[in-house]
Each structure stands twice: as C-alpha cells, then as structure tokens.
Symmetry: D2
Subunit: 157 residues, 4 copies
C-alpha cells in the first residue's frame, strides 16, 4: 500500500496510522486495525467477537458496529482527502486538522446479516470539496459477502 507515494506522503500516512491506533478510544473497543491507506482510499479490518453481537439468535453484528465502522472509514478517507490539499504541514498541524473533521450525516444500508470471521470496511472519496467531502463505504466479510454500504458527508474545512 501507499506505493508511488513520496517520503513526505509516507510520513503523513504514519501520522494517520498512529492517531488511528492510539488516540481514538472507541476504535479500540471495536478492535479496528488499518489495512491500507492512500489519499483516495482506505481499508480497515476488525474481527468478529461475541460482544459485538446485536442479534442474539443469529449471532450477527450489532447494527451499531456496522454503522460505527463504516462511519470511521468514511471519516478517515475524508481526512486523507483534506490532507492531500494541505501543502506541507507539520504532524501537529495534521493532527489538529483531523480534530476538526466531523461527520455531517451518514446513511447506512444493511444488505445481509453481519456474520463472518472478520470484516473489511473500505472507503473512497466521491466528492473532495474544500469544505465538505463525501465518501462511500462498504463492508464485506472474510468470504467477500457484501454486508452493508454507506455514504457519509464530512466537514473537512
């Protein structure tokens, strides 16, 4: 991942990785890990765990786990899209920028029960504005079943 990017870009992605892993408490509860990262796309991964279940008969993921992981994936690509338009900038400036990224709204469509050993949420940018970014997100399981899709609008400026 991140092939074809400059040294500067790789440093930026490292900042994002550290924030993602260490600074967002609820991400730890969800157990999400960054899989891949570029200025236009990102993928995260999380394992099935019994405490993430919502439907106790089927054993499928809580709808809130689906919406939470898709929201954070969309916010991540919105942030990356905003970073791309910053020329230079220190890690502190980039961290500050992230703190100002906020979800305006989110739509999730639930397509299939959230069953699987692990799940991949992927996001890409549909609209990269100076104030608002729109991202599309998808959730698949380890057998590539399509669990859910989402769209989010994010304030980035």
């Amino acid at each position: 991942m991140a092939q074809g990017h400059s040294e500067e870009d790789r440093k930026t992605f490292d900042v994002v990785r550290r924030i993602f892993a260490d600074k967002i408490p609820f991400n730890k509860i969800l157990g999400v890990e960054l899989e891949s990262l570029s200025y236009e796309r990102a993928q995260i991964r999380f394992a099935y765990r019994e405490d993430l279940v919502g439907n106790f008969v089927r054993g499928s993921l809580h709808g809130g786990v689906v919406s939470a992981t898709l929201d954070l994936t969309g916010g991540l690509v919105a942030f990356l899209s905003a970073l791309k338009s910053m020329n230079g900038g220190t890690p502190e400036e980039k961290t500050k920028r992230l703190a100002n990224v906020g979800t305006i709204d989110l739509r999730i469509d639930y397509l299939r029960p959230g069953l699987g050993r692990y799940f991949i949420a992927s996001g890409h940018i549909l609209r990269a504005g100076s104030k608002v970014a729109v991202a599309r997100m998808e959730l698949h399981n380890d057998t590539d079943e399509h669990i859910a899709v989402g769209t989010g609008a994010y304030l980035v400026g």
Copy 2:
C-alpha cells in the same frame, strides 16, 4: 411509563426489558439502559465514558456511538410497533419476532459534538406498516442539547 396499559401489555414490556438488558451483547458495551417504553415511544439512557470517545481533542462521543444508540432506539420502537399488532403471543413468540426485526437503512445527522454527563436517545414511530416500520430518533445530553437526529427503516414482518 407504561401507564394506561393492560396487565398483558406490562408483561410484554417486561419481556422487552429483559431482552434489552441481558441478550444484546453490544448494548452492554455501550452501557445503555431502558428509561421508558410504550407501543409508540421509547427512551434509552447511557453515561459518558472515556472509552466511548471518538474525537480525542474535544473529548466528544465517537460518531459510531451516536449511530449505534440511535439505531437501537429505532429498532426498539419498530419492534414495539410490531408487537402491538400481535394479538396475544407467548414470550417465546415475542422473542422470536424480535430476532427477525432488522434495520433496512439508517440516516444520522450530527448536529453538535457529543459532550455531556449522560445522554438520552428517544424514538417514535413515523410509519407502522405490516412489513416495514419507519422510526425517528433523537439524541440529547443531560442539559438537553440536541446532539443528533436519525431516521431508520426497519423490517418488522
């Protein structure tokens, strides 16, 4: 709450309370508790906790905590609306019905940062169909600031 309801209704609400409290693992992570319950409305409550934070600079709730609590509140009122149309029915039948309620889609609008000592999510039914119910949800904090609104469509039949 549940005033003006029959003995039968009160038993039904007790079943719902027990399922809500004991059977949905992710509800425990969120720390949600049922505040009030009727066939048309429901309120849940959860406390602010540091591990529910998404924005580490502001200390505000993760967007996924907001979407998760609004989704479960909408699903709860959709289920209650479905129960209302069941004449009689054993606790087992009602539990089974709940297991079949599923979110079709969800929209969340984030209005203000999720800050507060505790939060109340309330939901009511906009459309009570035999197959699909539509619910509207709101999230307020302990000083009655309006944090977020949502709308969800739920499969109930």
Copy 3:
C-alpha cells in the same frame, strides 16, 4: 407572517419571494407558491395536478414531486438561515448568495401515498452552521395527513 421582523428583514423576504416566484424554472412546473417565510421556517404550497402523478393506479404524486418539493423547501430555509448571518447586504449580494446555496445530500421517507387536493411542505433549520446548514422538512396534504418527511444538508458558506 414575518411579524416581529424589521423593515430590513421585510425587504429581504421580498427579494426571496421574487426569486422563488420568477427565477427558478422548475418551481413553475411544480406549481409551488410561498406560503410563509421567516429566518427559521418556511412553508410552500402546491396543488394536485394530474401531470404530477407517478402511480397511475392510485393517482398519487410521483415520488420525484415529493422529493423535489421537500428539497426546495429545505434549500429555502437553509438560504434564509444564511441570510440571517449576513449583516446588511444589497439585494444583488443576497441573490448571489442564493446562487451558491447547494444541496449536499437529501433523505426522503415516504410515509403515505401523495393524495389530496393540495399539499403543504414546511421546513425548519436543525443546524445553522457558517458552512453547512441542516434542515428538516415535512409534507402534509389538505386534510393534514403526513405524506413524507425529509432531511437535507446544504452548503451555505
């Protein structure tokens, strides 16, 4: 309506009324008229016409007529909310501002078939930001049946 507003406000509302009535071609096709106007709320009205029908068996409004009238009502209150934050400003500046208001996204929930002699769409502001405004909209018919609800995010800055 618009009671309690200053002379300056009334002039602003007159500008909005003229733009609404004369400058937006598709509004004429829909046959919409402004009913009431303030900085936080607006109502529009349109008559049932056979060429607005989508469901030829029921004779109900085309879903697109519902989404179009709710979108324009939301855009109108978003624009009014943006005007409120402009101190002074000429009619030309206000018209220019309107030209920059754009819908970011829109969600419509269809609650009942669009049947009636006429329809009222009303909108109010949920979030009045400097860059993004969020509006909620409702459509009722002449017997006050609730036909649809909507939420829209609008770029206003």
Copy 4:
C-alpha cells in the same frame, strides 16, 4: 440490451417499456426515456431543458429533477427485481405488481452541478428481498461527469 433473455423475458420488458412511456404522467414532464433494461440493471436518459433548471445563475438542473430521475430509476430496477421472482404472470398481473411498488426512502448525494446536453441515470440492485429491494443509482452527463448518486429502499412484496 436484454440479450440472453427468453421470449417470455422480452415480453415482460415490453410491458415495462409501455408502462414507463405511457402511464406515468410525471415521467413525460421530465422527458425521460428508457435506454436499457434487464432484471438487474436499467438506464434512462433525459435531455437538458431550460424548464428543468433550478439554479438560474449556473443554469444547472433543479435538485428535484436529479432526485426524481434517480428515484424512478431505482423504482424501475426494484420492480424488475420483483418481476424476476414471479413465475409467469400475465401483463395485467405485472402491471398490478408495479402499482404496488413504492419508495420507502431515498438518499441523494449531489456531487457536481447538473450541467450537460443530456443525462443518463443508471440503477442496479444491491439487495433483492421478497418484501424490500435496495437499489443504487447514479447520474452522469453526456461527457460522463458524475453528477449525483443515490440509494433507495423500495417495498416490492
């Protein structure tokens, strides 16, 4: 289009074409024409016209034209998905089925101003349930610029 389909399928598509062209009054106002049709996908086309404009400064399509054309494209693929699951059935039965297809909810994301000589709206099925179908829709102009995306949930059973 419709390659690889049986004689029975082609008759079904002809029924759909006739309904689309003759029976839905608001489709004529929008000027939409069917471009292609199968059980999983559909495309419609409409020309730019001055009376479809919403933004009089830019000359771009009214947001309601975008939401209307995406909604009808989504409803069309939802209907086709429902037809696929009907074994046989007379044209009358198919027409009746169409009359019962209804939009539950719709989300539209506006990506770029609606400018162009003509526009293509395309839709495909994300979830083909017996009661509810979920469709994704896209609008492009004649130079293949991406104007808008949408998602709709449709009652089909």
